[in-house]
């Protein structure tokens, strides 16, 4: 799994999305490209704590929905998105601007290894051993965009790779989702520009999954008691123990799970469906 191999453009195992590019490049690959639809999560390297938290969360929920997280393994937002994805053992693809066997920046080695360990892939259009030269990075952004079904920008400066990824994505018809930010914060300037130009603002993790679901199809539901046996007017927790004939701790645990899945909500001690 750790030896790179090449996938030629147009062959059966070649990622279909890349054919949308004018110049689909041959790819070097370590690991497995899953059949699952990919979502690119990108952003600036000079990000804020807020951006990191959000990117991690997005990585988690996208992976949780059964989709692949595609990013550039760069510092900041990219790394955070990958981390979030790996924290729930999700499938991730890292697209490098160097050879696939060159981990840059070196501090992201645990993420690089984590992606491969949890069955993801590292890809690059450059031959193994190619050093990480800055001028190559914008080019790899078109691969990130093309390999994904949608592009999510968490934080982006007025100039930078993330903005390029979003614009390239939009050019080849990928929907762009953008987290709005403070108007005077440099790390959000690019995001706000994208929104002005018509990108979809993202208002939270649930909002993102909902928006992506409209494009990709419904997210994978975790196996659970998704059918709630509950009267519409709701019951108190105490009444539910009788209704479900469970012990109180069992009832509470079940209510807690349903609440996380968004199938019920609590109003005081009353459990209400929806």
């Amino acid at each position: 799994m750790t030896t790179p191999h090449m996938v030629r453009a147009g062959t059966a195992s070649y990622p279909e999305g890349l054919l949308d590019l004018e110049d689909p490049p041959d790819l070097y690959l370590i690991g497995d490209l899953a059949a699952a639809p990919g979502v690119a999560v990108v952003g600036t390297r000079r990000c804020t704590r807020y951006g990191i938290d959000l990117a991690e969360r997005f990585g988690r929920v996208i992976a949780g929905a059964g989709w692949t997280v595609v990013s550039g393994l760069a510092r900041g937002i990219d790394a955070a998105a990958h981390r979030g994805c790996l924290s729930v053992s999700g499938h991730a693809v890292g697209v490098l601007g160097s050879g696939v066997d060159v981990c840059y920046p070196a501090e992201n080695r645990p993420i690089y290894d984590g992606i491969l360990e949890s069955g993801g892939a590292i890809v690059s259009e450059y031959s193994p051993g190619t050093p990480p030269d800055r001028w190559r990075f914008p080019a790899r952004n078109r691969i990130i965009a093309a390999m994904s079904t949608a592009v999510v920008v968490v934080e982006a400066a007025r100039t930078g790779g993330a903005l390029i990824t979003a614009r390239l994505g939009a050019e080849i018809g990928r929907p762009v989702f953008v987290v709005p930010g403070d108007v005077d914060r440099p790390a959000s300037e690019g995001c706000n520009l994208l929104i002005r130009d018509g990108a979809n603002p993202v208002l939270g993790a649930n909002d993102l999954i909902e928006g992506l679901g409209l494009i990709i199809g419904p997210p994978q539901q975790a196996a659970s008691a998704s059918t709630v046996d509950l009267p519409q007017s709701g019951l108190t927790v105490d009444e539910l123990t009788t209704h479900w004939s469970l012990s109180l701790p069992e009832t509470l645990a079940r209510v807690g799970r349903l609440e996380i899945e968004g199938l019920v909500r609590m109003s005081g001690d009353r459990v209400i469906p929806g």
């Binding site: 927790v237 509470l252 609440e259």
Partner: protein, 476 residues
């Protein structure tokens, strides 16, 4: 001619030895008192003079200087009367100098010895220094209840002088073993219905989680809170001593008892009454009196916001520092907070049947009082609804049964690994992502889930434990 007598001072929940030094000098009538005495101590001069006269002893017609050492320690109260009087007698060579005896007691003008709040403090110091102590009869049993104390009970100044003259040949007060007293007046079985609130009470008792009950009047919030005390394991010996001393410092006589203190200050209590203070010698407040026990704040939203904010630091640090010019005193304050509140001024917001009478602005103002930093430290928030008459059945568990479960879980807790299953951690992250809990709520949920696992005697926190913990952290 000098003499020195040992006495005791209460300093921030602990005892410190005090030397009462007396010097009788050249023939000239004068009586001076030095060493940071407060008014009550300064008045000792007159009481000592009268008591000595009433006891048939002569007050020396000479300069008498009394020094309470260490001088930097502020001393209050009336317990130094007896050591001063005995010191005067010793310095005038009437009795041997009681250097190695701890003496406390207030003097009546006729020479009788009155009870003193320092009875217990003397017992503690006696056990610690392995010295005998002379204690007024009425507080002797309290002093003797301290394990290891050697207590001699006395009724009058003359008797005390006689005891010292004979080298303490009187009978020592028998050590009193305190039976484990359990509060049987308030039993959990009295609470009808409310299984969810009971469950929260049990979890709170096991993990010492701060707890908030909210709901309309008549649901049993106050009843439940009071019954939590009866579920807690008894105090250890050192805890019982600490609790007894703090009560003594506040002028309360509790002595050695094994049940946990239960303090319920009214919402009109002053800030000093809550966290401690007072002019002169610092006095512990309710947060310290509730140390190792329960602090119950009924009608939490009626407490002024500023008072609730002052609770934060003692909750966090487990101690209150009261700073005074020249000194600061620290009282322990690791209390277990239980609070109850109505959801709005009239109490019926969110009730199933009864409409709320309050204007919306009033309701939100009321609720905001209980918010922010204080609420962040409360792990369990449970609504206690009104009990419908059908639920009024009394097959409820008694405190004794629950107490046993709590004791087993507390014991289990003391040496088990702290594990959490991967699916459980993932569930917490999912809850965070879907907005069911906040980032701050993560730690709280983990803590409560850990306790729930302890009650199930599970080493590893499971998904079910986490899910249950989330429900018991309802909205306020």
């Amino acid at each position: 001619m000098n003499s020195a007598t040992m006495s005791v001072a209460l300093v921030g929940g602990d005892v410190k030895p005090v030397q009462v030094e007396v010097h009788v000098g050249r023939p000239q009538e004068s009586f001076k008192l030095t060493g940071l005495p407060d008014t009550a101590v300064r008045e000792a001069k007159d009481r000592v003079r009268a008591a000595l006269a009433s006891s048939g002893a002569k007050f020396p017609n000479r300069t008498v200087t009394v020094n309470l050492s260490p001088a930097a320690l502020p001393k209050g109260g009336t317990e130094y009367d007896l050591p001063i009087a005995l010191g005067v007698l010793a310095a005038s060579r009437e009795i041997p100098s009681p250097r190695d005896v701890i003496v406390v007691g207030e003097l009546a003008l006729d020479g009788r010895v009155r009870s003193s709040t320092s009875g217990m403090a003397a017992g503690v110091l006696s056990a610690r220094l392995d010295l005998p102590c002379l204690v007024p009869e009425s507080s002797a049993s309290q002093a003797a209840s301290v394990p290891g104390a050697r207590v001699y009970s006395i009724k009058t100044l003359a008797e005390a002088a006689e005891q010292l003259r004979m080298g303490l040949d009187g009978e020592m007060v028998k050590p009193r073993s305190v039976p484990p007293s359990l509060d049987t007046t308030a039993d959990l079985a009295d609470v009808r219905g409310q299984p969810m609130a009971r469950r929260a009470t049990e979890i709170a008792a096991t993990g010492r989680h701060h707890l908030l009950f909210h709901g309309p009047p008549g649901g049993g919030k106050t009843m439940l809170a009071r019954r939590l005390a009866g579920l807690l394991p008894p105090l250890s010996e050192s805890e019982a001593v600490e609790v007894g001393l703090i009560h003594a410092a506040a002028g309360l006589t509790r002595g050695i008892r094994w049940d946990r203190p239960f303090r319920s200050p009214h919402h009109t209590a002053s800030r000093a009454a809550l966290v401690g203070g007072g002019s002169g010698v610092p006095v512990p407040g309710e947060v310290s009196l509730a140390n190792h026990g329960l602090l119950f704040l009924d009608e939490l939203a009626e407490f002024p916001r500023s008072h609730l904010d002052t609770l934060r630091q003692p909750m966090e640090d487990g101690a209150v520092t009261i700073a005074r010019r020249g000194m600061s005193v620290e009282f322990p304050s690791s209390f277990h907070l239980v609070a109850a509140t109505n959801p709005c001024p009239c109490g019926f917001t969110g009730d199933d049947r009864k409409p709320c009478q309050c204007r919306p602005a009033m309701v939100s103002r009321y609720r905001q009082r209980v918010s922010g930093p204080l609420l962040d430290r409360i792990d369990l928030v449970v609504k206690v609804g009104r009990v419908e008459s059908v639920e009024m059945r009394s097959d409820a568990e008694t405190s004794a049964i629950v107490r046993k479960r709590v004791a087993v879980a507390v014991d289990f807790r003391s040496n088990r690994p702290d594990l959490i299953s991967e699916v459980a951690s993932r569930l917490i992250l999912r809850a965070l992502d879907s907005g069911v809990i906040t980032a701050r709520g993560v730690e709280r949920t983990k803590r409560v889930a850990r306790t729930i696992a302890d009650l199930a005697l599970a080493e590893e926190v499971s998904e079910d434990h986490v899910a249950e913990a989330m429900v018991l952290r309802g909205d306020w």
